[in-house]
Each structure stands twice: as structure tokens, then as C-alpha cells.
């Protein structure tokens, strides 16, 4: 059991900068992977975790090269092997599962054929044995009806199913070591929980060692025996999963765990200042110095070594780690936010809103009618109060973005009305809205890389709304830009920067500043923290909350992440397939009764705690289209009571927790069964 199968020794990997300097992105990394063990490697983007994982299979990305150290797989150095020798090892001894399995599978070849290919390449089985093996593998990764699955093409499978096929292919060669690089990132919460469950099962069942790379401590916590925490190219903490998650004795890990929003905690998570330093920017001292609240002058000049702490069986790279021992109680705290003093003035009302993506037929187009009996989004009724944060939550494809777009006037509604202030109907066509209404509603997008023009400086980006809405120019414009930057805690010198010169968090701050430049009444936030690192996410959430408290802005906050929603929102609306399931005050979301879909979502949340396992109640099927009639959740509902769910739209009922739920099950019954 304790046999070491791969050993990384003092590995440094780097590249040559434009100025010809050697810059290392991995510094002195040493770790061992034991047989049958699952090691989680966690770190923010740019911390070097993928570079390390790839090096573990002897692969160095183009432009990078090893500076020193070795990767010993069964005491042979992978980095010294010829590509011939490596070919023999990859796939057979070490297999890799990439982040996006959909892209890794060949689109025009059947699943069965692709697995067969892997078997032919990595085993000596004959045709009949291989055929048997294929259905065995498909069974093992728990794909439904493995017989027919082999004859399907990749695009006929959902993201979660594709990921399972990738696992099956990786297992084909019976590898000793399985590398997984962000294997569940991008999958829906429920699917993610299922795939993780499968991986845990496979690790136990086959005794394969696994390296699980992720930015998500929640996912890492579910599968890992041991956790390696990377920061700026170094291992800063390493030890048994439970110790790392419950008693993190490195300030970075400690802060990281505190910055993750948790379902059990109301209020906002504590944020860490700053962001990870760029490779090559640290010349002396501890790489976490800038962001560390335990830092002393000693840390500025001296770099700490990895130190073994016997009691915790943990390696830590920090001079002051003793201060964190027994601090674990503080992990469970959060910043209480001022809840809005609901004056109950309604600023925005969605009344019976339906939205359809269906192409209009010619005659209907003439009559300006959209004929779609089963629109993507249907019957949305939400009254949004001034100053509140209302969250729309649901898995991808549930219509969250669609609703935001139609509020913004980017998408025509099929039926229903959007009313703004004093019941004035907003035209569903952007061009028909008056400039003041356009100003009043602003959007912030998920990915600031996409939402900021890469060819504009921050100054140009921020001046657009200021010029458009307030006709500012010259000194006044500049003063306003500086004010805005100050509001989002960025210095004046950011004005001349381009988006590519900013970190992810800084970019999103600029996007936030641009929205606030319009002095809007309502800001529509579409997954605004999903593309950010956790430590940065907490900071952006806190910033949004602060701005709202200062300026009285109303947020419509869309997210797939229930814990984030819990942290920031006052009220939450749960959507499935474009239909509302539940709506109510968010402090009650996790108090029962809940709509069966809310229950499923809550159960699938991955918490960075080895003691909280996700509850898998519903199948992780993906539905293409909402059902024609009946309850929208009928296809996956674990509590379905019968035909009535398929035929009749369920009624709204109000629970004792104040949440309105749309289900055929009597609400008291629902409460009882969920206790």
C-alpha cells in the first residue's frame, strides 16, 4: 500500500522571457505519489498545478523547459526518456483525463470504436476480448445502457456522459496512475457530484493512484486522500486531506478556505487582499508576503522552506505557521451584510414573461407573433424591490441568462411584460427604449476577458458610458474615471492599462466600474464570479455588496452556485428549464420545505469539508427541452408522485419558511419528508 509509484524531486520548470531571462513557473517541487492514493493538487489559476500534473506524465508544454529536478516514475526519470519510451508509458501506465472530454473525443467516431482503439493501443487483447472489455468499461463508468452507448457519437452524449467515456478510455490500459486536470470544471453541479462519486469508486475498486488537479477545494475535498496546495509555483502546504481542510496551518490555505462561501453560513465570506504574483516577479522573501496578514519583516527578506510538522503529518512553507495551529474555529465565520431595509418599492416587475428562441414562421413574422407553444422560458413572475439582491439560480440552460438578456432589451419577450418604476412597460426592443431607461439598467458579464474590449485601455472602457449618458469630456471625464476606479479599489495608474495587463479580479473590477459609471438603478449580474479564482471571488462579492450598500443599487444576480447565492442575495428564485420552481428569502433556502429541485441542487453542492458528502438524489441526465406540459422537473424528479406531474402544471404553495414552491406534493408533506 505504501509503495511510491511516482516521485517528483526538486522539480523546477520555466521559460525564457522576452528579455532572455529564465523565469520559473514551478519552483523546487517535491512530492511522492503512493500506490492507491488520490492526491489533490489545488491552486489558483497560474499557480503551476497543470504544469506539475503534465510533468508527472513526462510532458512539458511548448515554450517551457525543465530547469532542474526529476520526475521518477517507478524510479525512472520521465524527463530523460525518449518519446518512444514515453509512448510506452502514456496510456498504459499513466493515463490522463483532460478538462474538456467533449473536445478530446473524436467527433465523427463512435464511442465504442474510440474505446476499442485505446484497448488496441494499450493492451494485447484480441477482438472478442476487447468487445467484452468495452461493455465492461462502459458499465464500470456507469453509463446507461452500455450496449447502445457504444454505437453513439460523442455529440449525442451530455457533458457528464462524455466525461465518463473519457474515464473509460483512460482505464482501458489499466494504468497505475490516472491524471485528472479539472475533470469536472464546466459541468453542472449535479453532474459534477456524480462524476466525483464515480472517480472515488474507481479509485477504491481498481487501486489506481490518482492525481486530481483543480482550483475547486470543494471537489478536491470529495476525492482526495492527500492534498497539495500550490501557490505561485511552489508547494506551500501538503498533508492528509482532513488535516489540510480542517486545520490549515498555512496562511494562504487558511484564507482560501475562509473565502469559500458555505451553505451553512449566512453573510459574505472573508476575502483575501491582492492577487497571486506573476511568475518571475518574486526575487526574495515569501511569495505570499504581499497578501499575508501574518507577515513579518523576516518574511520579506527570507523565503521559508517546506517544514515537516510531525503532529499533523503535514509539510508547510511558512515561518509563522504556529500562529494558525488551533485556529480552526475561526474558519466558520463570515462577514454579516446589511440586509436591505425593504421599503418594498418595486422597481422591476416581470409579469408572465415567456421568451422563445424559436425561429418565427414567415406569416407570424408579418403579424409580429411568435408561435412557440413550448418556449425556452415561460410564465416568469417576479417583483423586484428597490435595493434588494435577487438571485436567479439553476443549472446551465435553465434560462437564467435568457431572462437577464430580455430585461436588458437584448432579447424580445414572446409574452408578458417587463415593467420598470411605477409600472411603466419597457419595450422589449432595445432601440425603442429611451436613453434614461437604458442607463438605468446595466449588465455585468461572467467573463471579463470577453466583456472588455481587448483593444481599449481601462480609460477608454470607462469613458464610454460616461460620454454616452452624461456627455462628459476633458478633465471632468478623467475625474469621473478616477472616482470610479477608486470605488472599485483600483488606483489611478490603471487608466492606461489594457485588459490583458490586468489579473482576472482586476478585470472584473473594471467591468463593475463600467456598470456603475452609468449610475444605474438596476445591475444585472450574469455569473459574475464564476470565472474568478475563489480568493478573488470573495473580494468581488464583498465589493458588490459594499457598492450596493453605499449606492442603493438593485441587483439581479444570476449564478449556478448556491453557496455564492446564499452569501450575496436577499431573495432567491430557483429555475429549472426556464420555469420557476421556488422563490423566497434566501436565508430560508436551505430550511425546509424546499422544492424537490432545490433539494437536489442543495444536495449536490460540494463543500470543502470531508465530512459533508453530496447527496445524490436525482439522475444526472441533461434534458434538451422543457416538457410540453406538467411540471418542468418531471423528467428528473426523485419525488415524483405520478401522472399528475406529467400532465398538470403544479400550483404555487407557500411554506412556513416563507418560500413559495411550485409542486403537486402538499407542502406540509414535503416538509415532513425532508426533515
Amino acid at each position: 500500500m505504501n509503495k511510491i509509484i511516482e516521485s517528483i524531486k526538486n522539480l523546477s520548470i520555466g521559460f525564457n522571457s522576452q528579455k532572455g531571462k529564465k523565469i520559473s513557473i514551478l519552483r523546487n517541487v517535491s512530492t511522492n505519489i503512493k500506490k492507491g492514493e488520490t492526491v489533490g493538487i489545488v491552486g489558483e489559476s497560474g499557480s503551476g498545478k497543470s504544469t506539475l500534473a503534465l510533468a508527472m506524465m513526462g510532458y512539458i508544454k511548448q515554450g517551457l523547459f525543465p530547469l532542474k529536478g526529476e520526475c521518477l516514475f517507478k524510479s525512472e526519470d520521465l524527463l530523460k526518456m525518449s518519446s518512444r519510451q514515453l509512448e510506452k508509458i502514456r496510456g498504459r501506465k499513466i493515463a490522463m483525463i483532460p478538462q474538456n472530454a467533449g473536445q478530446a473525443l473524436t467527433p465523427n467516431l463512435k464511442i465504442g470504436y474510440q474505446i476499442d482503439e485505446a484497448l488496441r493501443l494499450h493492451t494485447d487483447l484480441n477482438k472478442t476480448e476487447r468487445d467484452k472489455k468495452i461493455s465492461e468499461l462502459l458499465n464500470k463508468v456507469r453509463l446507461p445502457s452500455p450496449e447502445t452507448m457504444a454505437f453513439r457519437y460523442p455529440h449525442e452524449l451530455s457533458g457528464g456522459q462524455q466525461q465518463r467515456v473519457a474515464v473509460a478510455m483512460a482505464l482501458a490500459g489499466k494504468p497505475d496512475l490516472l491524471l485528472l486536470d479539472e475533470p469536472t470544471t464546466g459541468l453542472d453541479v449535479t453532474t459534477q457530484a456524480h462524476v466525483l462519486e464515480l472517480l472515488r469508486f474507481i479509485a477504491k475498486d481498481t487501486g489506481t493512484s490518482m492525481i486530481y488537479v483543480s482550483h475547486d477545494l470543494g471537489a478536491i475535498a470529495q476525492v482526495s486522500d492527500r492534498i497539495v496546495v500550490m501557490y505561485a509555483g511552489e508547494i506551500v502546504l501538503e498533508g492528509p486531506a482532513r488535516k489540510i481542510l480542517k486545520e490549515p496551518i498555512h496562511p494562504y490555505t487558511y484564507g482560501l478556505l475562509k473565502s469559500i462561501p458555505k451553505l451553512s453560513l449566512a453573510g459574505l465570506p472573508a476575502s483575501m487582499p491582492g492577487s497571486q504574483p506573476q511568475p518571475g516577479s518574486i526575487s526574495e522573501g515569501c511569495s505570499f508576503y504581499d497578501r499575508c496578514n501574518l507577515a513579518t519583516d523576516h518574511c520579506k527578506k527570507n523565503s521559508p522552506d517546506l517544514e515537516y510538522i510531525k503532529e499533523l503529518d503535514t509539510n508547510v512553507r511558512c515561518f509563522n505557521h504556529k500562529e494558525l495551529i488551533n485556529q480552526n474555529n475561526n474558519l466558520q465565520t463570515s462577514i454579516t451584510k446589511k440586509s436591505n431595509n425593504s421599503e418594498a418599492i418595486e422597481v422591476l416587475k416581470l409579469k408572465d414573461v415567456s421568451i422563445s428562441y424559436a425561429k418565427q414562421k414567415f406569416f407570424d413574422q408579418l403579424l409580429n407573433k411568435i408561435s412557440d407553444q413550448n418556449p425556452t422560458v415561460k410564465d416568469i413572475n417576479i417583483d423586484i424591490k428597490k435595493g434588494e439582491t435577487i438571485a436567479l439560480v439553476g443549472e446551465s440552460g435553465s434560462g437564467k441568462s435568457t431572462i437577464l438578456k430580455s430585461i436588458a432589451g437584448l432579447l424580445k419577450t414572446k409574452d408578458g411584460q417587463i415593467k420598470f418604476e411605477n409600472d411603466r412597460i419597457l419595450s422589449s426592443d432595445l432601440k425603442m427604449r429611451n436613453p434614461n431607461d437604458l442607463r438605468a439598467i446595466q449588465l455585468i458579464f461572467q467573463n471579463p476577458d470577453e466583456s472588455l474590449n481587448p483593444n481599449h485601455t481601462v480609460e477608454q472602457i470607462l469613458s464610454q458610458p460616461l460620454k454616452l449618458y452624461f456627455n462628459l469630456s476633458g478633465e471632468e471625464l478623467k475625474k469621473n474615471i478616477i472616482d470610479l476606479l477608486k470605488k472599485v479599489r483600483l488606483g489611478e495608474f490603471y487608466m492606461s492599462r489594457y485588459p490583458r495587463q490586468l489579473s482576472g479580479g482586476e478585470k472584473q473590477r473594471v467591468a463593475v466600474a463600467r456598470a456603475f459609471a452609468a449610475k444605474p438603478d438596476i445591475i444585472l449580474c450574469d455569473e459574475v464570479t464564476s470565472a474568478l479564482d475563489v480568493s478573488v471571488q470573495a473580494a468581488v462579492l464583498n465589493l458588490l455588496q459594499q457598492l450596493k450598500e453605499d449606492l442603493g443599487t438593485t441587483y439581479v444576480f444570476v449564478s449556478h452556485d448556491l453557496a455564492v447565492v446564499r452569501a450575496i442575495s436577499d431573495r432567491v428564485a430557483v429555475l429549472y428549464q426556464g420555469r420557476l420552481c421556488e422563490i423566497g428569502p434566501s436565508q430560508n433556502v436551505y430550511k425546509f420545505p424546499s422544492h424537490p429541485y432545490t433539494e437536489v441542487l442543495l444536495g449536490a453542492v460540494l463543500e470543502p469539508d470531508p465530512d459533508i458528502k453530496p447527496k445524490l438524489v436525482a439522475e444526472d441526465i441533461v434534458e434538451e427541452k422543457p416538457p410540453e406540459k406538467g411540471c418542468s422537473f418531471q423528467g428528473r424528479c426523485p419525488r415524483k408522485i405520478g401522472d399528475i406531474c406529467n400532465t398538470e402544471v403544479p400550483p404555487w404553495q407557500i411554506g412556513e419558511n416563507g418560500n413559495a414552491i411550485r409542486c403537486h406534493i402538499n407542502i406540509d408533506e414535503l416538509a415532513n419528508s425532508q426533515q
Binding site: 506573476q278 516577479s281 432595445l430 427604449r433 458579464f445 470577453e450 464610454q464 490586468l502 452609468a518
Partner: protein, 297 residues
Amino acid sequence: MESNLITEDKQKNKLEKAFEILKTMASKPSGLIGLAIVLFHVVLALISPYIAPYDYKAISPNTMLLAPSAEHWFGTDSLGRDVFTRTILGGRTALTVTFFGSLIALLWGGLLGIFCGLVGGKIDDVVMRVVDAFLSIPWILAMLLIVSLLGTSTEVLIPALGFFYGKGIVRVARAATHDVIAKDFIVSARARGHSNMSIIWNEIIPNVRDAILVEGAMRWSWMLLGFSSLSFLGFGVSPPTPDWGLMISNARGLMSFAYWSVIAPIVGLSSLIIGINLTADAFAKALGIDRSTKAPV
């Protein structure tokens, strides 16, 4: 503190940026060679009227088909004209016609492409079909028709070449625009209520400009070949204009005993084509544009 990657990439004004791009282009041998060749040709074209030792159209029966000598560095042609003079002036003709031709190609190709990418739908379909239909006509036949109707003056050749070489640019501009308009920063600008013109000018053009320019540079080298082929076939500029295609065509029959009259224009033409090609490649790389090589149309 040591400068990190972010601060290495400081804010620069337009001129500095252009210089930076040139520097990156010249940092690789192929780019440096390309730039040097192009620079050489451009300088030569600019000064050629002042340094040409003879009159390019002076026919002289006494000096027919002389071999290279101290008086006539590249010898003389069958009409007794100085080949050196005609070669350097020929470069001027080629560069002028194709430079302005490329400019026209860039302009109409770029604008139409951006327009198609923007409007999408039916109009885009129809326009692209028409462009495709034009793509399928052998352009040399079409040029033949045009010059036989309108003559072979540069006022005809430049727009005609510009027209035919703009088709490829339409595709590139359209694709680039198509990619850009799906981006959230465009959605964001639309949601704010900016006018279409302002969105095209501020958000789209800065993001498609590089791809279009690179394509234009590439097309330039192809246009040069096309233009010279035309002249070679007798549909390009008319004699006695000094022109490489014409020179090669005229001297074709004399290859075996008066090779000098054809070598100079061939070297001139091929070196300029290679030079522009290398430069366009380096330009694309410096701008970070991935351009899979396509065959000339």
C-alpha cells in the same frame, strides 16, 4: 523590484507600438530578410527616376542586345534599351500598381466583409454567394475582358486588380467580424444603447483591423504575381512602360543568347514577392494572428 511580465508590457503610443511590431518582425531571420528586401525595393522604386542612367524608352538600333558591360550593367534589350534602367523603373511600376491595388482591395473587401459579418442572415448569405460566384470565375479571363473593353491604363488596372484581390479579404473580414460580434463587450455596448456606427467604429474595427491588414499584406504579394502575369500575357500595362512582366515576355524568345535581358526582371519580381511574403508572415506573427496559408485565387 524586478519588473514583472505585466509592467514589461507598458502603455505605448501608436508610433512606439508600430516600432515595437517592426522590432518583433525583425527579431526572426525570415522577418528581417523580408523587411530588408521590401525596404530595398521600396527605396529603389522611390529613387529610380533620379538614378536611372538612361531614358527607359530610348530605342537605339546601335545598342541592340548588348551583353552586360560598364556602360550597360545589365546589358540592353532587343530594342537597344538599357535593361538596368528598365528593371529599376519596372519595380516602380509594379510597386505603385499593386500598392494602390491592395489599398483598394483592403478598402472594399474589408468594408464589405465587416458589413456582412455585422448584418448576418439573408443579406449576408446573398452577398457571400455573389462573392463566391466571382471567386469561381477565372480572374485572368475576367481581366482580359476588362482590359479589352477599357484599355490597359493604370487607372483601369489598379481598380480592376483591387477588385479581384479583394474577394479573399471579404471572407477574412467577415469571419473576424463574426467572431467579434458574439463577444460580450459588443453585447455590453449594445445594451448600453450605443449607436451602430459607434459600435462598428469603437468596438469592432479595432478588433478586426489586424486580421484584415495581414490578409491585405498577403494578397499584395499575390497581386504582384498576378499583375506581372497579366503584363506577361500582354494584358497588363502597355509598352513602352517599363514593367517586369513585359520585359520577361519580350525577352522570352531571346533567352538562349541574350539571357541578361530576362534575368534582371525575374530576380526583381521573385525577390519582391518573396520579400513581401516573408514580411506579411512576420507581420502576422508579430500581431499574434494565426494564418493558415491558402492558395492564391
